[in-house]
Symmetry: C2
Subunit: 126 residues, 2 copies
């Protein structure tokens, strides 16, 4: 239905949580290597929420826009560095609740699949 | 920190999705056996959303209320029967997006853990 690539970048380890900025900067280095002239969607707690149907239309629009493939950026356990957030074309929230980044990835992947399924009018879509 | 029991009830299988009401009624039978004089929290897409911190305070309040332990009810792939929803003391939404019931359970469990951790001022809490 659509090609989708999952890229895992390095997490900062062994640093104390008080060094939050260093941790996020380290992780930003890894993320930025994979950001190009894409449509960058950062996952943040306080971003815009959508229903699955709205998310499906959102991705449809991105596909028809043609330029810049959608790239979802999930931060580490402290979230994303400001300089990554500054590049966001869109800030998306999966939930008002704070998800672990591992869970955010699973929910996001399932939603992308669901969005494509809704778009193709598959049965299970709500 | 707190006792938590996960009860899985039977899913309706082998019925066509057009028989939605029968499926939900069958699943309601299984769920109702486990609902007592509890504080019933039904998980629904269009329920009330909370941040993790709000959810933590919500559970704290339930604990101090004393009567009626909180019971979370997650429906099957078609959601919950009206008669189960009618018993809800609270309708909670984990996300505007429609999660599979399997994912909803994982997210919910993680949020309950997080809520307790926030309540105990554990470090990772946001």
């Amino acid at each position: 239905m659509a090609a989708c690539r999952v890229v895992e970048t390095r997490e900062a380890r062994g640093l104390d949580e008080r060094e939050a900025e260093r941790i996020k900067a380290f992780e930003a280095d890894g993320l930025e290597k994979h950001l190009d002239n894409d449509y960058i969607i950062c996952l943040v707690d306080d971003g815009r929420e959508m229903t699955s149907a709205e998310f499906s239309r959102f991705l449809d629009k991105r596909r028809s826009a043609g330029s810049g493939k959608p790239v979802f950026v999930v931060g580490g356990f402290l979230g994303l560095a400001e300089r990554v957030l500054a590049r966001a074309d869109f800030r998306l929230s999966l939930s008002r609740m704070t998800l672990t980044h591992e869970l955010a990835r699973i929910v996001l992947l399932e939603q992308v699949y669901r969005a494509l399924a809704i778009s193709k009018n598959l049965q299970f879509a709500k």
